[in-house]
């Protein structure tokens, strides 16, 4: 076996391997059923005495809180927004996958499983992914019963479409607002439990610390964002459904408030962080217009079903009106390079090729810092073929959104798109039960690392969030809760005192006078570093440089950040400062993870690992594992625990979309 060059030597220590001990063996088809059966049941009479904290109210959090409430547990649900219904799942546009095979086009649980393993570039667990595909069917049933208004055909049955990189039609959708409709379904189920008294919601509350007592997760410290009060809540088990950390890049398609604080605080308390460098860059976003940009807007990649992507063949044409550029002068580069998949290649390929075209000087749209960062997504042919009405029915709200933001009419002028950070596959490490390395801490949805490997397929995030929340967690958490209720914890327990004290000290430090730079300016600078060196294409030199830059920036932040206002009452600068402080720690770990993984895999491209044709080259011999990172203290080297991935059912192949 060849020893890989360890680019990250000196940046980390190697620890003991880690293993998922919860997934049963045997045929893949029976593993989930076996686990459901073997997981103990908490006595129904006892459930009224078992308490659960769920942080986050997106698809994974709201569905979990509602389902656990229905099961009879005492649930507390927290979110930083003013209502649980605002969580960022709401912005997902395209759809949700399910192996229903309603189209009779050869889909099956096994095919969805196979596609997801392959799409994740062989960096996810077979057991987890099979379960995901299996329960995908129940999700659609559940959502329809809740009144989610999915798109339907004239016969009254559900419509499906095919979605990014997949050759069957298994994606259920609700116009371009699937996430919104699914989230409202989960939110309504949650509010039903609020009315029933089984769930209590705390909105405008932000989790700032995890309480660990005798090795178990037993509660959280939150800040009431309206009064500024620091509050402590205890439970028998804590569930984090707090979403992804794409905002470490400052500009992303995430909501302004999306952050890593809950999972990062848990990481610092002992939860391993899985594959932090696995980031998904989404190819169809609206390009940046200037330095004031606060976020990027994604348009569903379903647009790639009918839109054709191109750039001018000649750089000299780049500032022309696209309608004046003749067919012979256009380069439909995805159709040219990948004739079998064309515009439907997976997200990472579409993204990287768009960047390559712009780096070659053939990008379009306004110049920002001397480069035109955009490519055309053209519907002219689709409108001619299907008619404007058909396009309006399918994509109307996306076209409106584009027109609103850019001031251009996409029915007449080709859209301009550019990649943006959209989703993170990395997250807290969990076993098959969705339990982190801290007993009693469960992690669902984007906040965990589990099901998407090194790249997530389109329409699979909604599937995973709801699978975890509706069907998986409630069946695994009961095994842990069967040993409860656990001993009551006094408010003055040293671990609780310590957690409260650290939260207060941190807030005081952030508010200390004397600083001169705003929180946003630090966040922007961190984002630039991450995008430049830990984005679509990475090199060892670049990553080492990024680590140095981040360390310098973090030190400066704590000396020089300027946060006005007080700890009492609503203070949005203070909220942001706490989140950016955690991003500054996470960013370094992401770079170390990226540095040590000297292979191109899934959504990320390592320049040192490519084929002669310049395509991504995976290294299964050396990197077919999950990197689970352990926190060892401020300024200390993180410890890497490897979970080896073995494939019993799917054969590992190099991806080829040519």
């Amino acid at each position: 076996m060849s020893e890989p060059m360890d680019d990250a030597a000196g940046y980390y220590e190697l620890g003991e391997p880690i293993r998922d001990t919860k997934a049963p063996g045997g045929p893949i088809e029976t593993r989930w059923e076996t686990r459901e059966f073997e997981a103990r049941i908490a006595n129904p009479a006892n459930r009224r005495r078992l308490s659960i904290i769920v942080v986050g109210t997106g698809l994974a959090g709201a569905s979990a809180a509602a389902t656990l409430g229905e099961a009879g547990y005492v649930v507390k649900s927290f979110c930083y927004q003013d209502s649980p219904r605002r969580a960022h799942s709401i912005a997902a546009q395209g759809g949700i996958n399910a192996a229903k095979n309603y189209k009779g086009d050869g889909d099956s649980v096994y095919r969805l499983f196979y596609d997801t393993i392959k799409g994740g570039d062989y960096r996810s667990r077979e057991s987890n992914v099979y379960r995901l595909a299996e329960v995908s069917r129940n999700i659609i049933d559940q959502c329809v019963a809740q009144g989610v208004p999915f798109a339907r055909e004239y016969g009254g049955l559900l419509d499906n479409r095919s979605f990014g990189g997949v050759q069957v039609s298994r994606t259920f959708y609700a116009r371009g607002q699937t996430g919104q409709q699914l989230l409202l379904g989960a939110y309504q189920a949650l509010e039903r439990q609020v009315a029933a008294g089984s769930v209590r919601c705390y909105s405008r509350h932000e989790m700032l610390e995890l309480i660990v007592v005798d090795g178990r997760a037993r509660g959280i410290i939150v800040r009431d964002m309206v009064t500024g009060e620091i509050e402590t809540y205890f439970a028998d088990v804590v569930v984090l459904a707090t979403g992804g950390y794409g905002n470490v890049f400052f500009l992303s398609t995430n909501a302004m408030g999306c952050n890593v604080t809950a999972t990062w605080r848990a990481h610092r308390k002992g939860a391993y962080f899985g594959n932090p460098c696995y980031t998904q860059i989404h190819p169809t976003c609206i390009p940046v217009t200037g330095a004031h940009q606060s976020k990027l807007t994604l348009m569903s990649e379903s647009l790639r079903n009918d839109g054709r992507i191109w750039v001018p063949k000649k750089a000299a044409d780049c500032d022309k009106d696209p309608r004046d550029i003749g067919e012979e002068d256009r380069d439909y580069y995805l159709e040219r390079i990948y004739p079998a998949y064309g515009n439907l290649v997976p997200r990472d390929i579409a993204s990287r090729q768009a960047k390559n075209m712009c780096d070659e000087g053939r990008g379009v749209g306004p110049e920002v810092d001397g480069v035109r960062r955009g490519v055309y997504l053209d519907f002219t042919e689709a409108i001619e073929r299907l008619g404007r009405q058909a396009i309006e029915n399918k994509y109307g709200n996306l076209f409106d959104m584009y027109a609103q933001i850019t001031g251009e009419d996409p029915y007449r002028v080709p859209m301009r798109i550019y990649p943006a950070v959209h989703y993170v596959m990395g997250g807290l490490w969990v076993d098959y039960d969705l339990q982190a390395t801290i007993p009693g801490l469960f992690v669902t949805g984007e906040a965990n690392f589990s099901d998407h490997g090194a790249n997530r397929l389109g329409a699979s995030a909604l599937m995973q969030g709801l699978a975890d929340g509706y069907f998986v967690l409630s069946n695994t958490i009961r095994d842990y809760l069967a040993d409860g209720p656990f001993e009551r914890i006094p408010e003055d327990h040293p671990a609780v005192r310590e957690a409260q004290e650290s939260v207060r000290t941190r807030i005081e430090t952030l508010l200390a006078p004397g600083g001169s730079r705003s929180v946003d300016s630090y966040h922007r600078e961190l984002g630039h570093i991450m995008w430049e060196y830990c984005g679509m294409e990475r090199t060892a030199d670049g990553l080492r440089k990024a680590i140095d830059l981040i360390r310098g920036l973090r030190a400066d932040f704590w000396r020089n950040v300027k946060v006005l206002g007080s700890a009492e009452g609503l203070n949005q600068s203070l909220e942001r400062a706490g989140r950016v402080a955690d991003f500054l720690e996470l960013g370094e770990l992401m770079c170390i993870d990226a540095l040590h993984r000297r292979e191109s895999c899934g959504g990320h491209f390592r320049a040192e690992s490519q084929t002669e044709e310049g395509e991504a080259l995976r290294d299964d011999e050396n990197f077919a594992y999950v990197a689970a990172w352990e926190w060892t203290g401020d300024g200390e080297k993180p410890v890497l625990h490897k979970e080896n991935l073995t494939y019993e059912f799917v054969e590992m192949k190099q991806r080829s979309y040519k």
């Binding site: 229905e70 927004q81 003013d82 209502s83 649980p84 219904r85 605002r86 960022h88 709401i90 912005a91 309603y102 129940n138 659609i140 559940q142 019963a145 809740q146 009144g147 208004p149 798109a151 339907r152 004239y154 009254g156 609700a174 116009r175 607002q177 919104q180 309504q188 509010e191 039903r192 609020v194 009315a195 919601c201 909105s203 309206v226 398609t253 909501a255 302004m256 217009t289 200037g290 004031h292 940009q293 606060s294 976020k295 807007t297 994604l298 959104m401 609103q404 933001i405 509706y470 069907f471 705003s518 946003d520 300016s521 300027k562 006005l564 206002g565 009452g569 609503l570 949005q572 600068s573």
Partner: protein, 247 residues
């Protein structure tokens, strides 16, 4: 662009608030309205003045968290959410007045932030279909005619921003309420609880202190999701039906 901003400032829920004037310069027409406020806040922070508090989250027009009265209009001059309003809708030299939603059921928390939890309580009172997880029949067991599915969808796109309430002279939330009644009532799955739902939700709406509907229509005109006014007719129709059924 150079703009004069008159912004409502109020330190906490109980304090008296008032309009304060600020000037921002170098505003690009491509900025969103909230990015313009970001620029103001960076400027205030540099000057040592506490930034203006305002809510926003997704900034792509779907979460419903943002919402400002801009020159007396909910979400400003174009029919969209505040986050999707762009500065190209204004001209150099304009004076813009920015206030929070005005309604007693939406108390001001600070500056431009209001408390909209009344909406959550209205949904909790009956805005759902009662089905426990795992208890659902196959999704194809119950076909829904496309016209019903489409109408349900149109009503379901409400983002609960509160613009309907803010623009209504009576501070009524009838459009919000009617949207949910129509969404769930249009579907076969929603029939079993239809009477109960409309009675409970209407009672909660009134208990929260929202006003009655007098068919003015400002709500539908201001709604960024273009929820049609006929959802209020549907609400009234359903309420009458429920009363006829003795609810």
């Amino acid at each position: 662009m150079k703009l004069t901003l008159k912004i409502w400032r109020q330190p906490d829920p109980t304090a008296a608030g008032g309009l304060q004037t600020f000037v921002v310069d170098d505003i690009s027409p491509d900025m969103s309205f909230l990015e313009m406020l970001d620029v103001l806040n960076e400027q205030l922070n540099a000057e040592g003045t506490e930034p203006v508090a305002f809510d926003s989250d997704c900034r792509e027009g779907i979460c419903g968290m943002c919402g400002l009265m801009i020159n007396g209009e909910a979400h400003g001059p174009t029919r969209t959410t505040t986050c999707q309003l762009h500065m190209r809708s204004f001209a150099d030299g304009d004076t813009i007045t920015i206030e929070p939603w005005r309604a007693s059921a939406f108390p001001v928390l600070k500056d431009l932030c209001v408390d909209r939890q009344a909406f959550d309580r209205i949904i909790a009172s009956g805005g759902y279909i009662s089905v426990n997880t795992g208890a659902a029949p196959d999704a194809h067991a119950m076909p829904v005619a496309k016209e019903h599915a489409d109408r349900a969808f149109d009503a379901a796109t409400c983002i609960a921003c509160g613009a309907c309430v803010a623009s209504c002279p009576n501070a009524s939330a009838s459009l919000f309420l009617g949207a949910k009644i129509t969404h769930l009532g249009e579907l076969p799955q929603g029939q079993a609880e239809r009477d109960y739902r409309v009675v409970q939700m209407t009672a909660q709406h009134d208990a929260e202190g929202f006003g009655g509907c007098t068919n003015i229509g400002e709500c539908a005109a201001a709604c960024p999701k273009e929820i049609p006014l006929d959802v209020i007719s549907q609400l009234n129709w359903d309420l009458h039906a429920a009363m006829r059924h003795g609810r």
